[in-house]
């Protein structure tokens, strides 16, 4: 701690920070542009100037940039000093010399950091009366809009895009007041995190192009805290709505999870919510007309629920919905709707996590790793935000030397000069090149089984007690020793693995390495990528997979099969799914969009998406996090799955709930029934939580048009919808102060209208939110010492001339079903292909682009060839889960024939 004097008042602050961070943490309003809490200081914009005095006798002082000044004991500075204030105002005047007067038509207006800072410094009158410089804007793809004239040259975009996220195609060009931030030529931004430019940019140069298509000012959005649904990491987001349409996703700071950034799939994948393909009414196939009201539906359903009813849960539905289904059908009739291999892998992951042999890191913790080993994951495509964290770990590792020459950790510019291109150790074993390879000290392009064997060999090197790998090739042993040595030396090693390659042995091997690395305080970190947003939650409910061969005998021939938010036809072969569906007399599907499974249903019940429902998800690290309904849909049929299912249970039992069932009630019951969910009820607050007797508003205090927005239908203002399920209200009324962190509907503070206001919600800049970061970690190590997962070393991979090993290759855009329905993402998704290496292409006598017949279990696909020279022999990569390539039962083998 250090005592500093700001305008002669002493404050105790944390040492090691810079003065700007200290001032902001203390609640002072000090303007800034180039500094960013995640990216540190470069001292370029000169906006955060304060007067610094030598001691308490010094009255003259000198101007310094507070972001470049280390906090130290007895530091005297002044924010209110007239020279400092005049200078800060002058900086704004400089920046404004070329900034257009287009706030009224700028997408950033109302949530613009530049507007806020301009008001803060008091600059109002311009003395510059010359022509402003203008630029040509670039086409940057369907997701990001470019408007260079607004640029104030803070360099944040290139610092984020190039330095932080590793992008190659955005840079700064030209010099003096003509510098240009963009690509060398027009084109789609290639980086997975380009959407963050819209938040990193302090003004309207980079904006969300999907928002532009249904533009709404921040102050006119109804917003709710939410959780991203498009991978397993559970990034915190804010979802905003107006006129019954979901309009924007922005990052919601969670210091333990996503921090300040989310990926483009998460930011731009929301548009399926507004799809015309949404199911709008309950549908009964045998009824004329098919669309029915609730009474007819219930009348029709009542007899169907009394017989043998089987429920199929979903890895993309909330805990509440899955649990409500389980309650309806009974424990033994509840199955999980995931492929068999996935279920097997999830079981292994759970048993590893339950032993407590490894440390399950949050994403924040992964950034502190000094050596990283990635086994069988292409993180940029399967869990993008984690790739960004791993990048930081590798990038920041050599920074330790900075301490030795007194360069503070926040001094980004100096750190980068010092570190140059040095990186921490990172090893990646994956069949094809991944984007993180450029950071890696070792890359191994090998087949899934070989990845597992490499992993086991490393484990055996680290702990001779672990079983040795038979038949190990010499070079593989060498790699294992190299990686093992590096891991052994590491203070904080991280192993990353996952389910992407559909190979359970890889996960076992990764766990074996982590377990061999250390115990107690020296436990190694093991991060695991799982398929969907609630895969972990569903797996923790311990229901067998519906596709499991033994499950079929349990199912028998049910009267009714209820399928919850799950397109079964996308997860396995049509024949296998049909066999299950054919067994049942009635099929009820609850989902938001029509899909092949709903096409087979007898009864379809429309349900709300994440923006129309409350729920709790468990992410890949076992963190239970709540998401909240954003708006009450006009269509009363779009109800939460758990609400429908609770109603169905009452319908069958002939009961009624005395009170409204809330998500908290469901989670509490879940935790009572299954101890592994103990604590999850704390993630979802009770509906009657009030702060100073008030609910928490979803709408900002400046929400406009409430009395007029429906005037074309009815001149009287409609009664605002009430929310009986959560402590949030659907209006602007309610408690205006700091809310508990999981209930932050938006970040907004007086004078800070943009997302930069987040520091007002943090206990210290860049630290945890007030009341702690949202989410409750669930794993509590119930089975210590069980190492059975370590067995099962696969035999050596032998290229098979006939039977090719098919490798599922995930794609950021395209491999996740719901986001792929968004227009921009669909545009950027790859076309189907089959990837093989050059030698194999030669032996098949095909070139890049030739058509190959790919036959998997009798199903034939005609796909163009893509040559990936690094692929192991006789393996063929297929883009995972593309709309055109669903229904493959993984792991898969197949034949390739020239077409």
């Amino acid at each position: 701690m250090a005592v500093i004097y700001i305008d002669n008042v002493p404050y105790e602050v944390k040492a090691g920070k810079n003065l700007l961070e200290a001032c902001l943490s203390l609640g002072f309003d000090l303007p800034y542009f180039c500094w960013h809490p995640a990216m540190g200081s470069v001292g370029a914009c000169r906006q955060c100037a304060v007067k610094l005095f030598k001691d308490d006798q010094d009255t003259k002082g000198r101007l310094v940039m507070s972001c470049m000044e280390s906090v130290r004991d007895n530091l005297y500075c002044s924010i209110e000093d007239t020279t400092a204030k005049a200078f800060r105002s002058q900086v704004i005047e400089w920046l404004m010399t070329n900034h257009p007067h287009d706030c009224a038509v700028c997408d950033e207006g109302g949530s613009c950091h530049l507007q806020d800072m301009t008001v803060m410094t008091g600059h109002a009158y311009r003395r510059f009366n010359y022509k402003k410089r203008t630029y040509n804007n670039q086409y940057l793809g369907p997701l990001i809009n470019h408007e260079m004239n607004r640029c104030i040259q803070c360099y944040r975009c290139v610092r984020f895009y190039k330095d932080y996220a590793g992008g190659k195609d955005l840079d700064v060009f030209a010099a003096h007041n003509n510098v240009y931030f963009g690509r060398a030529t027009d084109g789609v931004l290639e980086n997975e995190f380009s959407g963050n430019l819209a938040e990193v940019c302090p003004t309207g140069v980079f904006t969300d192009k999907t928002l532009k298509e249904h533009y709404t000012r921040k102050w006119d959005l109804t917003m709710a805290p939410s959780i991203c649904q498009h991978c397993s990491l559970g990034c915190n987001i804010i979802a905003g709505e107006r006129y019954g349409e979901l309009r924007q996703i922005t990052n919601r700071y969670n210091g333990d999870v996503n921090g300040y950034f989310i990926c483009d799939r998460g930011r731009f994948g929301y548009e399926y919510v507004n799809s015309l393909n949404r199911i709008q009414h309950p549908l009964i196939r045998s009824h004329v007309p098919e669309a029915v009201n609730r009474e007819t539906l219930f009348d029709h359903l009542k007899p169907l629920l009394s017989g043998k009813v089987i429920g199929v849960g979903s890895p993309r539905a909330s805990l509440e919905s899955n649990f409500a289904l389980r309650q309806l059908v009974g424990e033994n009739q509840f199955f999980s709707g995931v492929p068999e291999t996935t279920a097997e892998m999830m079981e292994i992951i759970l048993s590893v996590f339950n032993t407590g042999d490894v440390r399950i890191p949050s994403m924040k913790e992964t950034e502190e790793a000094d050596v990283v080993l990635i086994l069988g994951e292409d993180l940029n495509n399967s869990a993008p935000r984690l790739a960004l964290s791993v990048r930081q770990a590798v990038r920041n590792n050599p920074v330790e030397v900075a301490n030795t020459i007194n360069i503070p950790a926040w001094h980004d510019a100096a750190l980068r000069e010092l570190v140059q291109s040095e990186k921490g150790d990172c090893f990646i074993a994956y069949p094809v090149i991944t984007k993180l390879d450029e950071l890696a000290s070792g890359t191994y392009y090998i087949s899934p089984d070989e990845i597992a064997r490499l992993g086991y060999a490393i484990a055996n090197f680290l702990d001779p007690q672990a079983s040795a790998v038979p038949d190990l090739q010499g070079n593989m042993q060498g790699h294992a020793v190299l990686i093992g040595n590096s891991l052994q030396k590491a203070k904080n090693p991280l192993i990353v693995t996952g389910v992407s390659l559909q190979n359970p042995s890889i996960i076992k091997a990764a766990a074996a390495i982590a377990a061999a690395l250390g115990e107690g305080d020296r436990k190694a970190m093991l991060a695991v990528v799982v398929p969907d947003c609630n895969s972990m939650g569903l797996a923790m409910m311990n229901a067998p997979s519906i596709l499991n061969s033994t499950a079929l005998s349990t199912i028998g021939s049910p009267d009714t099969l209820i399928i919850l938010e799950n397109d079964l036809f996308s997860i396995s072969q049509e024949a296998q799914i049909s066999e299950i569906l054919d067994r049942s007399t009635n099929i009820i599907v609850l989902d938001h969009l029509h899909n092949p499974t709903s096409a087979r249903a007898d009864i379809v019940i429309p349900v709300g998406t994440f923006s129309e429902a409350d729920g709790t998800l468990v992410n890949n690290e076992g963190r239970a996090q709540a998401y909240f309904q954003v708006y009450m849909p006009k269509n009363e049929n779009l109800r939460e799955s758990w609400r429908w299912l609770s109603d169905l249970k009452n319908l069958r039992d002939g009961t009624t709930d005395a009170n409204n069932v809330t998500p908290h009630d469901l989670i509490r019951q879940l935790a009572d029934k299954m101890p592994q969910f103990t604590g999850a009820d704390q993630a979802m607050p009770t509906a009657d939580l009030r702060i100073k007797d008030q609910k928490i508003p979803r709408e900002p205090h400046r929400y406009s048009g409430r009395t007029a927005m429906n005037a074309n239908l009815d001149v009287s203002e409609p009664k605002p919808p009430s929310d009986p399920d959560t402590p949030l209200s659907f209006t602007m009324e309610g408690y205006k102060g700091l809310q508990p962190a999981p209930l932050n509907s938006f970040f907004w503070s007086p004078g800070w209208n943009s997302n930069q206001s987040v520091h007002k919600y943090q206990m210290e800049v860049g630290g945890a939110l007030y009341g702690g970061n949202p989410g409750v970690r669930l794993f509590n190590h119930i089975n210590p010492g069980d190492r059975s997962y370590m067995n099962g070393i696969p035999p050596r991979f032998k290229p098979d001339k006939e039977n090719w090993e098919m490798l599922p290759l995930p794609h950021l855009f395209g491999s996740e079903a719901l986001s792929s329905l968004s227009k921009g993402i669909a545009e950027l998704s790859p076309q189907p292909y089959v990837a093989i290496n050059s030698m194999d292409a030669e032996s098949l006598n095909v070139d890049e682009g030739s058509i190959l017949q790919v036959i998997i279990e009798g199903v034939q696909y005609e796909l163009p060839v893509k040559i990936k020279p690094e692929l192991p022999a006789r393996t063929a990569g297929l883009p995972y889960n593309l709309q055109e390539l669903t229904g493959i039962k993984w792991p898969a083998h197949g034949q390739l024939v020239k077409g």
């Binding site: 470069v42 001292g43 370029a44 914009c45 000169r46 906006q47 100037a49 000198r62 101007l63 470049m68 007239t82 020279t83 204030k85 005049a86 200078f87 105002s89 002058q90 900086v91 400089w94 920046l95 010399t97 070329n98 003395r127 510059f128 010359y130 104030i152 040259q153 360099y155 700064v172 030209a174 010099a175 003096h176 007041n177 003509n178 510098v179 020459i405 007194n406 360069i407 001094h411 510019a413 100096a414 000069e417 010092l418 570190v419 140059q420």
Partner: protein, 455 residues
């Protein structure tokens, strides 16, 4: 004739070749240093000599060298800053063109002193002929065993590289030069950390001007104490001055520091007076970035003493009535020159050369340029003059690198000393387009304090 240390043999035919240079006693300092001195001895001699950086700032070279960090297992670098591009300065180019081995010799001795195994000469990209000359000189020195492995059997290895500059004035700023040398965009770095701690490739680095490095040769040959005897006070040794403007004999002169300015301008040994029999109006004494001084203040200080060509004397009077030695770019203006136009011209240069990193310089230089353009072309307002003062004052001292100061000083000083001429441009715009203001009544030795501009 004053004593010459750098250009003593400049008129010897073929001095640019190794053989002739060697015959004239060249590379003696390398032999002396490598054979009979330790690196610390060399640093000590340079410290004793009182040599001050010849690039502009005038920081003692020996002290700069002694700040170089020497961590275990890390390379150290010497970089010669030959990115000479300040308007009015052309002394390094002269030296490199005509006596390149003086620089190579200095580089070897200096690198030895600093323990650098690899050294770079970063030459302004436009100076392609000089780059070729230097490369040829390096080849010759290498063939003669003065570069490469185990130089003169001393066990000391040195590789010397010439790096063509990135084409921007800012790359002459030492940290921007390092960035450019590393292959990056030439934006200055924030100090600290100083290059002496974290410079090229994050390693300890010394960046010295061409002339400073060349001056190490006579220091080692004659000894630091001997060198310190030349010059006056803390301005020791000789200095190359590139004289330009309305002079009878513009060119590069080696002067002994302490020479009276009047003698430098008017004596036949140096510039030979003002051309065409005109009167001297003003002088920019050290390259375009230093404050401009009216004739009376450049010849005599406020206290009436004769102003000398030395770091101290030129700076006497501070910003009110003094200037700076700078890089030795001496520009003389006769009575027919327009100060407003000249200030605009300088401003245009600094605007163009601003790297665009920090706001005051990026936006401020462009704004000053626009205002000055307007004043010069007869559309100015009286308030523009105060606006210029205000903007220049807010730039000064508040930028990452000294380019901001360099852009602000000429404007601020021109208005300080020639305000009447600026006002005349506003009040007589038509006349200002047709004729010059002439010598004017700038002769007030200490103008009244400026009215402070309201914030």
């Amino acid at each position: 004739m004053a004593r010459k240390l750098l250009l003593e043999h400049i008129n010897v035919p073929g001095i640019h070749t190794f053989d002739v240079y060697r015959k004239q006693g060249g590379y003696r300092s390398v032999e002396k240093a490598l054979k009979s001195m330790s690196p610390d001895d060399v640093v000590e001699e340079v410290k004793k000599s009182g040599l001050r950086g010849r690039g502009g700032a005038g920081f003692p070279t020996g002290m700069k060298w002694s700040f170089l960090a020497k961590p275990e297992g890390k390379a150290r670098y010497l970089v010669c800053n030959a990115d000479e591009s300040e308007p009015g300065t052309f002394k390094d180019r002269y030296l490199m063109t005509y006596i390149p081995h003086a620089l190579i010799e200095g580089m070897i001795v200096s690198s030895f002193a600093l323990g650098a195994k690899t050294s770079y000469i970063y030459v302004r990209g436009e100076m392609m002929p000089q780059i070729r000359i230097l490369e040829k000189a390096i080849d010759e020195a290498k063939n003669a065993g003065f570069l490469g492995k185990n130089i003169l059997g001393s066990g000391y290895d040195l590789e010397l590289y010439v790096q063509p500059g990135g084409g921007a004035y800012i790359c002459g700023e030492e940290t921007a030069l390092i960035e450019s040398l590393e292959g990056k965009r030439g934006n200055p770095r924030i100090k600290p950390p100083f290059p002496a701690i974290s410079g090229v490739w994050g390693c300890p680095t010394v960046v010295n001007n061409v002339e400073s490095i060349a001056a190490v040769v006579p220091i080692i040959n004659d000894g630091g104490d001997e060198y310190a005897k030349v010059g006056i006070g803390r301005s020791t040794g000789t200095k190359l001055i590139s004289a330009s403007g309305n002079l009878n004999k513009p060119g590069v002169y080696e002067i002994e520091l302490g020479l009276p300015v009047e003698e430098f301008i008017y004596s036949d040994e140096y510039c030979g007076g003002i051309a065409n029999g005109k009167r001297l109006k003003a002088v920019v004494a050290g390259g375009s970035s230093v404050p401009i001084l009216p004739a009376n203040l450049v010849l005599k200080t406020v206290s009436g003493e004769s102003r000398l060509m030395s770091y101290e004397s030129l700076a006497e009077g501070g910003f009110q009535s003094g200037s700076m030695m700078g890089s030795g770019g001496f520009i003389a203006f006769d009575e027919d020159q327009c100060i407003v136009r000249n200030t605009w011209n300088f401003s245009r240069f600094y605007h163009h050369e601003s790297c665009g990193q920090c706001s005051p310089c990026r936006e401020g230089t462009g704004w000053m340029e626009k205002v000055l353009h307007r004043l010069e072309y007869g559309h100015g307002k009286m308030s523009d003059i105060d606006l210029l003062v205000d903007v220049s004052k807010k730039i000064e001292g508040n930028t990452i690198c000294p380019l901001g100061d360099a852009a602000a000083w000429p404007v601020a000083s021109a208005i300080r000393h020639f305000r009447d001429e600026f006002e005349w441009h506003v009040s007589n715009p038509k006349e200002a387009m047709e004729r010059n203001y002439g010598i004017g009544n700038y002769a007030d030795p200490l103008p009244a304090n400026e009215v402070p501009v309201a914030n």
